[in-house]
């Protein structure tokens, strides 16, 4: 099992301490951990369980129920393809095909070299720009398969700063 670094332990302790005495804070705690550390591993869960005196299984049940949580770290570039209604009608399927093809990554997975994570989301709220893709927190609208390929090419060329503070 993965062991935690001293830094990770400090971060987790600080986050848990902020929520002492506030009822129902398990989800906000896990959300903040994911914001800080990029994901919530089972090792993190155990640490939280110990600190909050909740069964680790309870926390695990939360993490697996809500789609926001991930048990694995993100790739360097985080790409969310909108599959909301408007984007679906505007051809989100083809945008997804094209993204999978360009990044050689399956939707819902991270590429082997850790360069890309592809994920489906439902409506990012820019329906009139459909089809829409969020790349590292930035919205790209009115996409075509060609434009999508360009977006990926630009990411590759940039040598890119990666997903920075959009980790969530």
């Amino acid at each position: 099992m993965q062991s935690l670094s001293a830094e990770e332990i400090v971060i987790i302790k600080e986050i848990v301490a902020k929520h002492v005495g506030s009822p129902g804070s398990a989800i906000p705690i896990l959300q903040e951990i994911q914001k800080e550390l990029g994901y919530v591993s089972t090792a993190f869960l155990r640490q939280v369980a110990e600190l909050t005196e909740t069964p680790a299984s309870d926390l695990y049940s939360i993490v697996t129920f809500y789609s926001q949580f991930r048990l694995e770290p993100l790739g360097k570039n985080y790409i969310q393809v909108c599959h909301g209604t408007a984007c679906h009608l505007a051809g989100a399927e083809r945008i997804t095909d094209s993204l999978e093809h360009e990044t050689k990554t399956k939707c819902g997975c991270t590429s082997e070299n850790g360069e890309f994570t592809l994920e489906k989301v439902a409506c990012v709220g820019c329906c009139s720009l459909a089809p829409v893709v969020n790349v590292n927190g930035e919205t790209h609208g009115r996409l075509t398969p060609e434009k999508t390929a360009k977006v990926i090419e630009n990411l590759r060329n940039k040598g890119n700063e990666g997903n920075g503070d959009v980790l969530r």
Partner: protein
């Protein structure tokens, strides 16, 4: 003296309004006041810039890029001549964009795109918190509830339950501690009304919660908002802090003995958490599984205490009802459905965006007069309201008034405000399949009918769209759909068969075409379509061959290219790449099923 407002809500920012705003900041002269604002609803022509001159005349520019900024500043603001080709609304335009506003009645959205959402002073200028003051000084909590009752306000989150009844029940329920919860989960995957209100006018929702809290005797409110709305969350945080500084939240609201505070809880990505009992579970820090009602949250809600759960738009209406009186609201609408409703128009519509209409406006008025008709120029086929819980309304029922009763009568629902417009290129079977895929993934798994029933329905639909369906499947779908509705405990299971059931009702012939002829009339279902190069139009440039990811296009330069149907994966990339429109999609009656791999 000029005012310049730039729309900085998510939709505007995605279209590039942040760059426009920055450019204005750089070029600012002392006679111009620049103000960031929220969403006017005209998503179809973002970024939007509004110029208001000293006599109060408003000029609205659309599709503005940062390169247009200097032109607006020099031509309009310095020389006094509006830049006509960018104008979308102005005192002089006779353009049909004017209809867009003329047919709407802005009540819940009245401040959106008008005030600065990050500045409480800007909200004060439009009578912000006057409703709260009036209530605290002159009204008992019963009087607040009565005003809302006389206004005829019904919940805007989907079910349309009378708001005053919910508040009365919660008020009367036994218990010291009570809660008010604002449902900002907005789970319908094609809707963004609540996001826009929160991003453009957050204080109105806070004021609505304060009034609701005062009415039911709660001292604490939670806002449950989806984590996918970071800008809305940020602006809510700002608004809450400002309200605390002005003693509008805290131990003594406006110096009275009414105490109230608000906490934000971010959702974690589960559609079912929009359902009220699941939402409460989630705030309590558990898996968001709905529970049986009764007891209703009004009796036993959050942490076991009486709780009123209200939607964002419902709450945003309340301050104005209290401030201006119930007539300001109930002068709009029909006999039983009072007031206005906000809709998010999306899909194949010319003027997609947020609109607010008086209840009783017909579907046709909404689609054609306000929405400008179909964006593709093709025939209008249907609309879908209520997202995965809703149903479709075919074009021939376009005279149906949009109010709770009329929509229910034809098997559709008002829903929370998502409104999808479809043209003849939309396959209704594919649409039903899309919503059901969503429903299956989002079922919490508690009730067998919802969990396994949606899975079985989806399998049948997949079979039909891949050309393997049988006519008896249609009865099976209808039967399963009805059983899921009665066999499920919460509103999710009780409603998610609706998209299938209503498309079956109004577009049965499309299902039959998929099954009997193996044809997708809208040419969307991959297993039932083929691509071919039109020899007469092909200029033999070879671009299509390059674009094909699987090498299914055969041919050499200077020859007409052909497509190997057995290799083709129907991705459509070649159609997009061909500048001469020489590649055609077709769906003809034939035994495709045998020669194509069935899609899983």
């Amino acid at each position: 003296m000029y005012y310049v407002k730039v729309g900085l809500a998510s939709c505007g920012i995605a279209a590039g309004s942040a760059a426009v705003y920055e450019r204005f900041q750089q070029e600012l002269t002392p006679d111009v006041t620049l103000q960031p604002t929220g969403c006017l609803g005209m998503c179809y022509c973002e970024p939007l810039v509004e110029v208001i001159n000293s006599t109060g005349e408003r000029y609205l520019y659309g599709n503005v890029t940062d390169k247009d900024v200097l032109r607006i500043l020099s031509t309009h603001i310095r020389d006094g001549n509006p830049v006509t080709e960018l104008l979308v609304d102005a005192p002089s335009t006779s353009d049909d964009d004017r209809v867009y506003f003329a047919k709407q009645s802005r009540f819940a959205l009245q401040n959106c795109g008008v005030i600065n959402p990050e500045d409480i002073e800007s909200y004060f200028l439009v009578r912000g918190y006057e409703g709260l003051k009036k209530a605290l000084l002159n009204m008992s909590s019963e009087q607040v509830i009565r005003e809302v009752e006389q206004a005829g306000l019904r919940g805007r989150g989907g079910a349309g339950f009378p708001t005053h009844l919910k508040w009365t029940l919660t008020r009367k329920a036994a218990g010291e501690q009570k809660y008010i919860v604002c449902n900002a989960d907005e789970g319908d995957p094609g809707a963004f009304m609540d996001r826009s209100i929160l991003e453009s006018d957050p204080h109105s929702v806070l004021e609505g919660m304060l009034l609701a809290g005062y009415a039911i005797g709660a001292s604490k409110g939670y806002i449950y908002i989806r984590a996918e709305y970071p800008l809305a969350i940020k602006r809510l945080r700002t608004a809450i802090n400002q309200a605390r500084q002005h003693e509008l939240l805290g131990a003594a609201v406006l110096g009275s003995n009414f105490a109230f505070d608000i906490e934000i809880r971010e959702g974690a990505g589960a559609f079912v958490c929009g359902e009220e009992t699941a939402l409460l579970m989630s705030i309590e820090g558990k898996r968001g599984m709905p529970r049986f009602r009764p007891p209703y949250p009004a009796e036993k809600g959050l942490f076991g205490c009486p709780t009123s759960i209200n939607n964002v738009e419902t709450l945003a209406n309340v301050p104005r009802i209290i401030d201006l009186g119930c007539e300001a609201f109930n002068r709009y609408g029909t006999e039983k459905s009072k007031g206005t409703k906000v809709f998010a128009l999306a899909g194949k519509i010319k003027r997609g965006g947020l609109v607010e209409i008086p209840m009783g406006t017909t579907v046709n008025e909404l689609v054609f007069s306000i929405g400008g008709g179909i964006s593709t120029g093709k025939a209008f086929k249907a609309i879908q309201t209520g997202g995965p819980s809703g149903g479709c309304i075919p074009a021939q029922l376009g005279d149906t008034p949009v109010d709770y009763e009329s929509l229910n009568k034809i098997g559709a629902i008002m829903g929370s405000g998502g409104l999808l417009v479809m043209d003849e290129d939309t396959c209704m079977v594919n649409l039903a399949q899309y919503f059901l895929t969503f429903a299956r993934e989002e079922s919490c798994g508690k009730c067998s009918f919802c969990r396994s029933g949606t899975e079985q329905m989806l399998r049948i639909l997949n079979r039909i769209t891949s050309g393997m369906g049988q006519l008896s499947d249609l009865d099976l779908l209808a039967d399963l759909g009805e059983k899921i509705k009665i066999g499920s405990m919460c509103g999710l299971g009780q409603t998610v068969p609706n998209p299938v059931l209503t498309t079956l009702k109004y577009f049965r012939h499309e299902y039959v075409a998929h099954i009997q002829d193996k044809v997708c009339p809208a040419k969307q279902c991959k297993a039932l379509i083929d691509y071919q190069v039109l020899a007469a139009d092909c200029r033999s440039c070879g671009i299509c061959k390059k674009s094909c990811p699987v090498g299914a296009i055969i041919g050499e330069k200077k020859q007409v290219y052909t497509i190997d149907s057995s290799k083709c994966i129907r991705c459509g990339l070649c159609v997009n790449s061909c500048k001469f429109h020489a590649i055609e999609v077709f769906s003809l009656p034939k035994e495709v099923a045998v020669c194509m791999e069935v899609q899983s």
